[in-house]
């Protein structure tokens, strides 16, 4: 057997064993670049309120060989909720609305995935989990898109770290009244439906 052939066989074996030994990876969503964000929109007939939050953290366990087994916990710091009007922001953080002092975290804890479809590096699924806002926890099923970017951490960290990235995108609605967010506020001015869009990337550095 020629040397070239032997090298090819060895390389193929190494690749096969690496795939066979693939284990779930933990991705940390605390983003030093500050790109991760959640956007919220309340579109009432008389007023539209738009804002964002960038205090994202949490971890997700993702197995590229078995995306259906994904679990994790994403946290948004409630005091990072931002609207452009300072008075509105003060109200938003206040006790009648988000009460950020008493309830400093907005949490989504993913428990199971359904309708999992994978094409290349991208997986779409419906994630069921516990969503906690203002101290009220409700079970939600949310459509998500997971994009696994193998070996892309190096490019994002200017070569300081090597590893993989996981991008999560989700858009879903919740009802303000379900979570006790100022349920007395008139719905013509402050919509009951809160449209949420999450765009976050987590890193799994290689040791």
């Amino acid at each position: 057997m020629s040397t070239a052939k032997s090298i090819l066989i060895l390389a193929a074996l190494a690749q096969f064993s690496a795939a066979a030994l693939a284990t779930p990876q933990t991705f940390d969503f605390k983003d030093p670049k500050g790109v991760n964000n959640a956007v919220f929109k309340l579109d009432a007939p008389l007023e539209s309120i738009n804002g964002n939050a960038n205090g994202v953290s949490g971890t997700v366990t993702f197995d590229p060989a078995n995306p259906a087994a994904t679990t994790g916990r994403i946290v948004i710091a409630a005091n990072s909720l931002h609207v452009p009007n300072p008075v509105m922001k003060e109200h938003l953080h206040g006790s009648q609305w988000m009460d950020v002092t008493k309830h400093p975290e907005i949490v989504f804890e993913a428990k199971s995935l359904k309708n999992v479809k994978t094409a290349g590096d991208t997986t779409t699924a419906d994630v069921t989990g516990a969503f906690t806002l203002r101290g009220v926890t409700k079970e939600l099923t949310v459509p998500v898109k997971l994009t696994y970017l193998k070996d892309k951490l190096g490019a994002r960290s200017n070569g300081q770290m090597q590893g993989d990235l996981l991008v999560i995108r989700a858009s879903f609605n919740i009802q303000r009244s379900d979570f006790g967010v100022n349920p007395k506020a008139p719905e013509d001015k402050v919509a009951n439906t809160i449209e949420l869009t999450l765009s976050i990337a987590g890193a799994s550095p290689r040791k």
């Binding site: 964000n37 452009p84 009007n85 970017l149 892309k152 994002r156």
Partner: protein, 88 residues
């Protein structure tokens, strides 16, 4: 005094309206920050930075109009100074 108040009211009105128009004629509430979006090329995520910037809204315009209106209205309550000589 009367004329001075009317001039101040007119200047306030012009400055307020001019500022509101120059800053984009925002028909929402006044903003002290604006969203600046930047694309992260690796992940494709559109990052959001809240940049400090004053964008006057309809509340600013309304307050300016009200202040100018009060000044102009107030000027009508000021009597013209009488300088006529009293002769016996």
């Amino acid at each position: 005094m009367k004329r001075a108040l009317q001039i101040v009211a007119a200047i306030l009105l012009l400055v307020g309206l001019g500022t509101w128009l120059a800053k984009g004629a925002n028909r929402g509430w006044t903003k002290t920050s604006v969203e600046v979006k930047t694309m992260d090329e690796i992940t494709g995520i559109e990052g959001i930075t809240n940049e400090k910037r004053f964008v006057p809204g309809v509340d600013f315009l309304g307050a300016t109009l009200l202040a100018a209106g009060l000044l102009a209205g107030g000027s009508f309550f000021i009597r013209k100074s009488v300088t006529a000589d009293k002769t016996v």
